[in-house]
Amino acid sequence: MLEVSNLTKRFGGVIAVNEVSFEVEKGEIIGLIGPNGAGKSTLVNLISGFYLPDSGKIRFLGEDITKKKMHERAKMGIARTFQNPRLISNMTAIMNVMYAVLGSERGSKLSLVEAYGEAAYYLDIFDMLKKRDVLVADLPIYELRLLELARALALKPKILLIDEAMAGLNPAEAERVSKLINRIREEFDLTIIWIEHVLKIIMRSVERILVMHYGKLIADDTPEKVVRMPEVVEAYIGEEVV
């Protein structure tokens, strides 16, 4: 479904993503981990089109999207969330979902009222319907994370790139978010690439893990095997794995 080959991105002298290649099958849920500055977010930004790669190719649904613009990729079904919730703070919760509905492929035919109805549906999945008229600026971080997910889902994506869904949440909230992600994955038949720092939860939730270190992909296997790889342990020295 998604095929990344030899992707490289440099920022000045720093190689943020170095010759990364992997494939994602439909319906997979993949964890992407790595120490700080490993290039995880850059990789997501490359796939979503935020940056253009210096070299390498990205194929999605059999089509080369390396040169495609960000909004075209979004319309094709690549949705992402942001590491620091990036919502429009002077709009209400439901408005923040509405524009994703309008921006989706079928959204070009919807009127505002129809988009409102649909957005309400997506908010309801995350139990946020009662907060629909609250300004985003007034929402706590947990609800912002949920809203990010609702917004991404409203794009009706085929693949969802989650850039840290749990940063800033307490363990109970993180648990709930992880359950919700698994629920929407089944309900909407999603493929998910999930960047996370909270390793405990991600190890339990995903079937396959990619590990990045200094821009390189150093491991690509099941969680059980990955934690035993010496390269991975070395990359995480000082950090607790599992």
């Binding site: 613009k69 909004h71 979004a74 002077n90 309008l102 921006g103 129809e114 988009a115 109805g117 649909e118």
Partner: protein, 357 residues
Amino acid sequence: MSILKLEPRRGRMIIHAFGRKYDWIIEPRYWRNPIIGVITLLALPLLMYFFATGVFGIRPVALLSALIFANILAMIGTPLVLQIIGTGRVSFGPHFFVAVGGYTAALLSKNYGFSPALTLPASFFMGALIGLGLSPITIISRGIYFVLITLLLPFILWELTYWRSDVFGAETGIPGVPLLIFTGDVVLDIMIYYYVSIAMVLILLFFTDRVMRSRYGFMMGVINEDEEVALSYGIDVAKIKVITFTLTSGAIAVAGWFLAHYQGSFTGPVWLQPSFLILILLTTTLGGKGAVYGVIASAYFIATLREVTRTQFGEMSVVVLFIILLILLYILPEGFWGLYRKRRYREYVPSIRIRRA
């Protein structure tokens, strides 16, 4: 969509979607106040003429021409608000497009004998064409750089008019532009001009309002707030910006067309002055951030104030006018619309700012 059913009720809309029921309250002020506003605007000149004989020593005819000036400010301000929201950038060069429209109308009618009916679309297209040519800057340039480019554009045109003063007439302008209305009766003329200009304002207002409440207006709001978010959620930012900039530039040029045919001449350097820019900018900012109706209110306020200061303070009038406007900027950070508008969550209030980056 078949899963969706809309059920309008008194004051609210019930939406059945995906087996659930949602209600959406439509506030009556959304549709009642515009009607009151339109009636006020239409009745104003008649009231002025018959009842207000000499308030602050202003003759009714002078007051009417002040109100026409208010309409001109509103004609520029309304599309400008749309442009600011739709491109996410604050333009400091709306008067450039006014001058473009004015010169197009004046040159075409003087040199080629075009009638006002023909110069109207010509001005619009000229403005739109130049807007289209300049529209890449709304994508390339951010924040302060956009402000600077738009601030310098009028100066370029200004220099151009002096360089080719044989064509543009520099500060003497282009005389002999056919008048839009000429009946021979000064009062009747000015009354008709008022109604023509208010009709133009209302048409612009209607369009702007429709756009703002449509899906495009909503997407423009998203672009105004965060372009990167808009892009990552499938909104074609570049397309919307180019279309917005092009069409609103054309609309602003129409104000120049009106000026040329109202005054019977067009003198660019008068309108390319920074003091005119400031009047336009204050019309939009005092109107309230991104509020289209507020623009009308502040245009009328500023134009009336300008006339009052002109009669009361003579040569010091500009100083007094700008000091009053500056004070208003301090005490009304939300503008006139902010006085009227309560904090209503369902309504999106655009945040208008110049990004530093």
